[in-house]
Symmetry: C2
């Protein structure tokens, strides 16, 4: 019999134009906000200015910290926290892709508690975080799910650790404004990578040994939306219906992460983008995903069969056959968007596999344990080899 634990205390405000409702939702949450964002796109689109104006309308002063890069690193987080402390902010806005929102969460922990973010992580000093500034998430990509989960992924370049961690109540956004209109300018390749991140959140939650009917129904629904609408947004980024569908798929997938969580495919990917920060997370997931499913096939084929029937409409009653076809379809789907890139083309050397496996297994043992078949460090190496 199934068990479910569900807790998602974020106000999720979803829909075209919802950014303009920001004043209503931030009122009373603080007096001075740090807006954490990237160097370019939210400025170019005018979104940053709009957010500053909306905060001002709610009586909130803004300070902009615009140094966030993809695959955000610890140094930037700690620098942002210094700014937050110096400016005496009491509210943090993550505006941009997953990296901006994740950084906002990490800055909130570091700034409120005073030491380097890493000191509060489970692989750092594990100091107890006693609080955090309220976080508002305004995603401009449709993949990370950070708007509906308490997690953040930050890379420590010194140790090569790309760590995903959550701090429960402290790092759930208080409010997430998910406005598909802000995603229209996302270029085709980013449209694909971010959507595939959402897709793998759902697929991994679906095969997680703790999967349950709540996350299952959302996972299937969100994967269907990606399969139905990704090509449309890929070919015409301005298509608002496709953006809305993909944005909701991403938030739904974020909810599945919060309810059930991902499995070792995500851990393995953190090895790739942890070793080569130019590897985009969503692409890395595609590099590994189908191979990963093949590797755990004997332990997961029943669930993979259901995934294949529901998401790809496979009409095959034998579970092993259906699962086999499902993985084939996944390769084909990824091929449409040129996502079947083997590791050897990602500027990562075979010689690094042992160290990569060592690091990510150390950080994400709990993801290995919820993967069907309960993978070991040696399994991680073998999956990297298979996907080379």
């Amino acid at each position: 019999m199934f068990e479910i634990f569900s807790y998602l205390p974020t106000k999720i405000v979803f829909g075209v134009g919802k950014v303009d409702e920001l004043p209503k939702f931030v009122k009373g949450l603080g007096k001075k906000a740090l807006i954490v964002t990237g160097r370019k796109s939210t400025k170019a689109s005018g979104l940053l200015d709009r957010v500053i104006q909306h905060l001002s309308a709610a009586g909130i002063e803004s300070v902009v910290f615009d140094k966030i890069t993809p695959n955000p690193i610890l140094e930037t987080v700690d620098e942002g926290a210094e700014v937050a402390i110096k400016e005496r902010i009491d509210l943090i806005i993550g505006l941009g892709g997953g990296s901006a929102i994740d950084s906002a969460k990490a800055i909130s922990i570091a700034a409120y508690n005073g030491e380097s973010y890493w000191d509060y992580t489970r692989v750092g000093k594990s100091l107890k975080a006693k609080g955090a500034y309220p976080i508002i998430a305004i995603p401009t990509t449709h993949g990370t799910g950070a708007e509906a989960d308490p997690f953040m992924v930050i890379t420590n370049t010194k140790t090569k650790e790309k760590l995903g961690q959550g701090f429960g109540d402290l790092t759930f956004p208080k409010v997430s404004i998910v406005d598909p209109e802000t995603m229209k300018t996302l270029p085709p390749n980013q449209t694909v990578y971010t959507s595939m991140d959402a897709f793998y959140h759902s697929l991994e939650a679906f095969i997680n040994i703790n999967a349950n009917p709540y996350s299952d129904v959302l996972a299937i629904d969100s994967m269907k939306r990606v399969v139905s609408y990704l090509r449309i947004a890929y070919e015409n980024g301005e298509d608002l219906e496709a953006r809305t569908q993909l944005a909701w798929a991403s938030t739904e997938a974020g909810i599945t992460e919060t309810i059930t969580g991902v499995v070792a495919n995500h851990a393995l990917e953190h090895g790739l983008s942890g070793f080569n920060e130019k590897v985009v997370h969503g692409l890395g997931l595609c590099t590994l995903g189908p191979t990963f499913l093949e590797y755990i096939f004997d332990h997961a084929f029943k669930k993979i069969a259901v995934f294949g029937r529901e998401v790809f409409g496979i009409l095959e009653y034998d579970d092993k056959k259906a699962a086999y076809i499902a993985i084939k379809k996944l390769w084909e789907f990824q091929e449409v968007f040129k996502c079947n890139i083997p590791i050897r083309k990602l500027d990562i050397s075979k010689e690094d596999f042992e160290e990569m496996a060592e690091i990510v297994y150390g950080m994400f043992k709990e993801l290995a344990e919820v993967t069907p078949g309960k993978l070991t460090k040696e399994d991680f190496v073998k999956i990297y080899e298979k996907a080379y």
Copy 2:
């Protein structure tokens, strides 16, 4: 394009045996709890004693208020609040069916703020509730959804108003423990009525003009579970798988209420059980439901068609035909459980329809407004007449 607002800050702990995890989840929430429950069943089953012991294990003293009856009334709520104040409790446990949990929520509002519960309602003095004691919900039926929503339904016998209202953050349970094992002793007719309450929460949220993909996917999933498992639990109440499926259907339906909400069928039912408190809410919904769908047919047939295809597996491509068959199937489904009872057999007189419509339309105008076709008070009277 769709819009979604989602906010559900309750920790939902779902699964067989989960009552025994109560100590873990209540620790730190208070020192003295008022347990709000009915006169018999939680005592007979030993559940009340188990809860008292678990609270004690978490260092929480208990006071029992066991005067809750079905269709809870204002006098009892205010009496409970007096006990709460006198005993200086700081935590409220709703243990039992919807009436116990709804009463716990209302007692929490009244006890914390000091006046009669009615003074804080929108049809009373509309005083501002400044806070509430934390509420823990432990449902022993699978229908109300009160474990996943901020709403409570309390009847004012003097004014014949059966009012449903929520107080946002204040009346979301902090924790809800949904343990299907506690539902095994529910007799067959209660099994049906409570399940049909859940079914109508989902069906009404599904046809609500504000329906969206989040509540839709949960609504369809929960109705399928009721259709697949109600007969099993009806014939063998001890079947734990059926109880688990129905319990999850109920919680899912509660989530759809919180995300999107019910429509006028629920308002109309409050007329029946408000005028004759012996009418069980879930049965009253069935008395009105199919007739209600027939009445709004022209405005709702497209969504009713989808409901029919998804929940009853109807293979018919014409929407009007599919919707027509769906309503027929709903009558048939209800007939299996003897739920097609016309109003004339509920000891309610035709002469009361005008007054009933007047009262419920006054209380629930906003439910009329989210119903396809936007019903008026006159429509309410006509629906009562059709269902007589």
